[in-house]
Symmetry: C2
Subunit: 153 residues, 2 copies
DNA sequence: TCACATTTAATTGTTCGCAATTGAATGTGC
DNA sequence: GCACATTCAATTGCGAACAATTAAATGTGA
């Protein structure tokens, strides 16, 4: 009896991969964010950096990297672009000259108000209750943290 | 009574963003996959293309793009790298000269056997039952599809 | 103090991801 | 048959993402 798919192949089928679900969902989010963030003059990773800075200002690059799981190879050019857009200022710490402190400019602070409209639009696009989203978020964060724990071995 | 965070800021807090959960989980997956895929000589997006081709061979670029939600700007150079690695062959369709058909080489087919070890390792790294992962995957796919539906408006 | 390791950011090179454009092939309406 | 739009891949340019390396500043132990 001929079969189209072998049962042994199930683990390799695209639709069975949770990683692809996550991967493609991340891209879908990016595409929904794009038109919203265009109005703010930000890309999605730049928006994440601004979220960090709106919570706490004047932090070293390393702190931003730890919160976003990104390294200096990604952040240095990104922060330079944010500086070129007059949203942040980069200054060497006087206590520790190795560190570069990232501070918001007045324009960077001001952008926060314009950004408040973004989460609402995303919520609408996800067509989902807040409690469902929170539950999902917690599950995904749990998975992420377990994966990250494996990496640091 | 002074507060560190205003309640009005809650929607902008990084840890409340499901998009960041998804974004950072995708990167965590990528980092777990990296050492496994290095042995196959593949990057993660290349692995996804190979998953598609292992299911069905000799398909136009467009079909791969629709399955992976990627366009020719991403796929053309990626497929050229897979061709340079002798894993696929790219040929213009004779019925429709606009299409480029992607077919696996013998080496491309053979790589499937080596790839079977990958999903097991990922499952172990996720430290989670299969049924939990399947449930999560379905939820995330549902969210992704709702987001994609909004984009096509 | 001085050799040594550690920390931190910057740099370089490769690979994605996508918008926008190009150009060739195909389909269509007249 | 012929103008026209559509489809498809390729190309270009920009912004991530990350590995690997570099270089400067700092910390540590003898």
């Amino acid at each position: 009896m001929p079969r189209k798919h072998s049962a042994a192949d199930a683990p390799l089928r695209l639709d069975n991969q949770i990683c692809f679900a996550v991967y493609s969902a991340a891209h879908a989010f990016n595409r929904v964010y794009k038109p919203l963030l265009d109005r703010l003059g930000l890309t999605y990773p730049q928006y994440l950096v601004m979220l960090v800075l709106w919570e706490r200002d004047d932090v070293p690059v390393k702190d931003i990297g730890e919160k976003l799981f990104l390294d200096s190879g990604t952040l240095t050019p990104l922060l330079k672009r944010l500086e070129a857009a007059h949203l942040v200022k980069r200054t060497r710490s006087s206590e520790d000259e190795r560190q570069v402190l990232i501070a918001l400019t007045p324009q960077g602070h001001a952008l926060k108000d314009k950004a408040r409209a973004v989460p609402q639009s995303i919520l609408a696009a996800s067509d989902c209750s807040v409690s469902e989203l929170v539950a999902m978020k917690d599950e995904i964060v749990g998975l992420r943290d377990r994966l990250n724990a494996v990496i640091g071995e």
